[in-house]
């Protein structure tokens, strides 16, 4: 059996789990499993020391470090997950639609592998989570997944980017989510919740006081 195809399918299923999950713990776990799968997918390229380092770094950051940090922040903030803009069951239907679009896109661009479709689907799923969720945590996880999708796209491409840039990429993602985590901590400390829909003081479309 083609193990890389299995990994790609795991990535896809984690996206579905992410979009339809109602609890933050499930979302964090889905992102972690997806991170581990993405790390293992690095071995699709010809194996060199850089690839091993990249894979190890990806797994360490995405599957171990981030879930740990996010769980700590989640427990400290004691915030309830507010209901999303799009219901959980309807999210499933949207997932199916997004997956269909991803497969079509990958065929249109002439790279019709499962991983390519999975990469597009992950990007779309990340977008969907950011847009449809109200909690700042969910938005941060959505961003993490979005970057994972772009990373998966890089893996699916036949030729490689220099390892230096890939590592720089990883560092950037790490810093970004780190800073997001700090921001969420501050927001939840200031407001005692992390519901972004309630934090909407800046607007030009209403009279403000």
């Amino acid at each position: 059996m083609n193990y890389f195809e299995l990994l790609a399918v795991i990535v896809i299923l984690c996206d579905v789990a992410l979009c339809a999950a109602s609890r933050l713990r499930v979302m964090i776990r889905a992102a972690a499993v997806q991170g581990a799968a993405l790390g293992l997918l690095a071995f699709m390229k010809p194996v060199t020391w850089e690839i091993v380092l990249l894979s190890a770094a990806t797994i360490a950051i995405k599957a171990v470090l981030f879930p740990w940090l996010l769980n700590i922040a989640r427990e400290k903030s004691k915030a309830d997950e507010p209901a999303p803009y799009v219901g959980y069951n309807f999210s499933f239907a949207i997932c199916a639609a997004m997956f269909g679009v991803s497969v079509w896109l990958s065929h249109r661009l002439d790279v019709a592998t499962t991983l390519m479709a999975g990469a597009f689907f992950t990007v779309l799923a990340g977008f969907f989570v950011i847009v449809s969720r109200k909690s700042a945590f969910s938005q941060a996880i959505g961003y993490l997944v979005l970057e994972g999708g772009v990373y998966a796209f890089g893996m699916a491409m036949p030729n490689e980017a220099p390892a230096l840039v890939e590592l720089g990429l990883l560092l950037d993602v790490f810093m970004a989510v780190f800073i997001m985590g700090i921001m969420v901590y501050h927001i939840s400390r200031e407001f005692e919740h992390a519901d972004m829909a309630k934090i909407a003081f800046l607007s030009d479309l209403e009279d403000y006081d």
């Binding site: 772009v150 491409m157 030729n159 840039v165 921001m183």
Partner: protein, 479 residues
């Protein structure tokens, strides 16, 4: 030498983070001066770049702008931090950094400068992406520095929207790699430009589309501009000056690099249309939201959106020189205006226009510069923006986009109406105004110097500056 321009602020920032308040302030002043001197030296003696870093005309222009603006902001910061320290209690930024806020603020300012220099000097497109993401991350703590609810919201919005945009730009970078395919062409922008004809056109088009949206988000083009009014109005004034004046230009630089590759591959007509469309949309949206705006800092922020739109229109109309000139003029003018708005905010303690009455009596020097700056940003001669807007319109009419030119003129008129009325309200003398406070030189001088730069550019462009602008245009033009 080029890497020194990046490493110097980065190292100084790290030192400021762990040093004390006095060290941080010294480092800020020293680094600003040293960086400016370094950049001017590199202007006079062009540097040969390496594999990863190189300064072509456009990079050098934007680096000069960033450096000058930073120097102005750094000196303004001296006065600003004195004032704000007296009015805020110590507040822990995060569990990891237990230091006082001022060194953290200064450290992130220096990191911000380092990352912007990195963007300007990057030759490899992937590295440029990393640098642009670093600018986002370095500027987020600066925006929410005062931890008010509004600034937290603004900082979160900025972080999310710009990070998502830059993630899209990363996808675009990968599309570019796909366009390169199996041909051994590294992702260096000049090498790509030379070999542009060999790239796969479908992937290249997809790359341009996605990269435009991604970097356009960072640049503040509509409809991806929604973070800009919030972030630029809630940030401390000197940070707003840097964001509006320097960072938007860096995003524009990144976009133009990719555009140059596409134009060299023959997609110039397509990309020009995209630039024109989004640029006009930005001007329209900004003009619409500037009318009846009640917050003067938001007014300035929307003006940034409008001016970025004009820069995009200039690029799309095939007049890169006008785009460069406008970028330079806008940087100087907007930075001056934001620094002055800091003075107003400090005196009147409110960002709303209706709370600012009798500015002429309260802050005479500031109000003079404020009025001059507003006239400049609206495009009055003899300030520089008039000339760059004129060149843009000329290019539009010359390339036959009559409808676009007409729309642009109409929107500029709307912007004038939107800006002139509130400014007149602010400036008009009011009864019962308290005696004017003495305005410290440090709050006036940076804005004055920046304003005079834009006046200079409007009246007479010195030959070296002209040469720099022309080389920048040549480096990015070709479409």
């Amino acid at each position: 030498m080029i890497s020194a321009a990046i490493l110097l602020p980065a190292v100084a920032g790290a030192a400021a983070l762990f040093g004390g308040k006095a060290l941080a302030r010294f480092l800020l002043k020293a680094t600003a001066c040293a960086h400016l001197a370094l950049v001017l030296y590199m202007c006079v003696f062009p540097q040969r770049g390496g594999y990863w870093l190189a300064l072509d005309g456009a990079g050098l222009l934007f680096l000069v702008l960033a450096s000058v603006l930073f120097a102005a902001a750094a000196f303004y910061a001296m006065g600003y931090l004195d004032h704000s320290a007296a009015h805020r209690e110590a507040h822990v930024l995060s569990p990891l950094f237990g230091t006082e806020p001022q060194p953290v603020f200064i450290a992130f300012l220096l990191f911000f400068l380092a990352s912007m220099s990195f963007v300007c000097a990057s030759r490899h497109l992937g590295l440029m992406w990393v640098a642009l993401e670093a600018t986002t991350l370095a500027s987020v703590p600066l925006i929410c520095f005062h931890k008010t609810p509004r600034s937290l919201e603004a900082a979160w919005k900025y972080l999310m929207i710009c990070s998502v945009g830059i993630a899209l730009a990363l996808l675009g970078n990968f599309f570019l790699t796909a366009a390169v395919g199996a041909r051994e062409v590294p992702l260096l922008y000049d090498v790509l430009r030379q070999n542009a004809a060999k790239l796969d056109p479908l992937w290249l088009k997809a790359a341009f589309a996605v990269t435009f949206i991604g970097y356009g988000t960072k640049m503040g083009l509509a409809p991806m501009h929604t973070w800009l009014p919030d972030a630029h109005s809630e940030a401390p004034s000197l940070v707003s000056a840097l964001l509006s004046g320097a960072l938007l230009n860096c995003a524009f630089l990144s976009m133009m690099r990719v555009n140059a590759v596409c134009a060299a591959a023959g997609l110039g007509a397509f990309s020009a249309k995209v630039f024109l469309a989004f640029g006009l949309l930005s001007v329209v949206v900004a003009a619409a939201l500037m009318l009846r705006q009640r917050d003067y800092k938001r007014l300035l922020a929307y003006s940034s959106v409008e001016n970025m739109g004009i820069i995009a229109v200039a690029a799309g109309a095939g007049a890169p020189y006008a785009a460069m000139l406008h970028a330079a003029n806008h940087s100087f003018t907007k930075a001056a205006l934001f620094l002055l708005s800091g003075n107003i905010l400090r005196r009147f303690k409110s960002k709303k226009i209706e709370d600012v009455k009798g500015l002429v009596q309260a802050l005479p020097k500031t109000s003079f510069l404020w009025a001059a700056g507003m006239l400049a940003i609206l495009g009055m001669p003899p300030f520089g923006i008039f000339w760059s807007k004129f060149l843009t319109l000329k290019a539009l009419l010359g390339s036959g986009n009559y409808w676009a030119a007409g729309l642009l003129l109409f929107m500029l008129a709307a912007v004038f109406a939107g800006v002139a009325h509130p400014v007149m309200e602010m400036l008009r003398p009011a009864e019962g105004q308290s005696a004017p406070e003495p305005e410290k030189c440090i709050f006036i001088l940076p804005a004055l110097l920046l304003g005079s730069c834009t006046l200079l550019l409007g009246v007479f462009i010195p030959a070296p500056v002209e040469a720099l602008l022309k080389s920048a245009a040549a480096a990015l033009g070709g479409g």
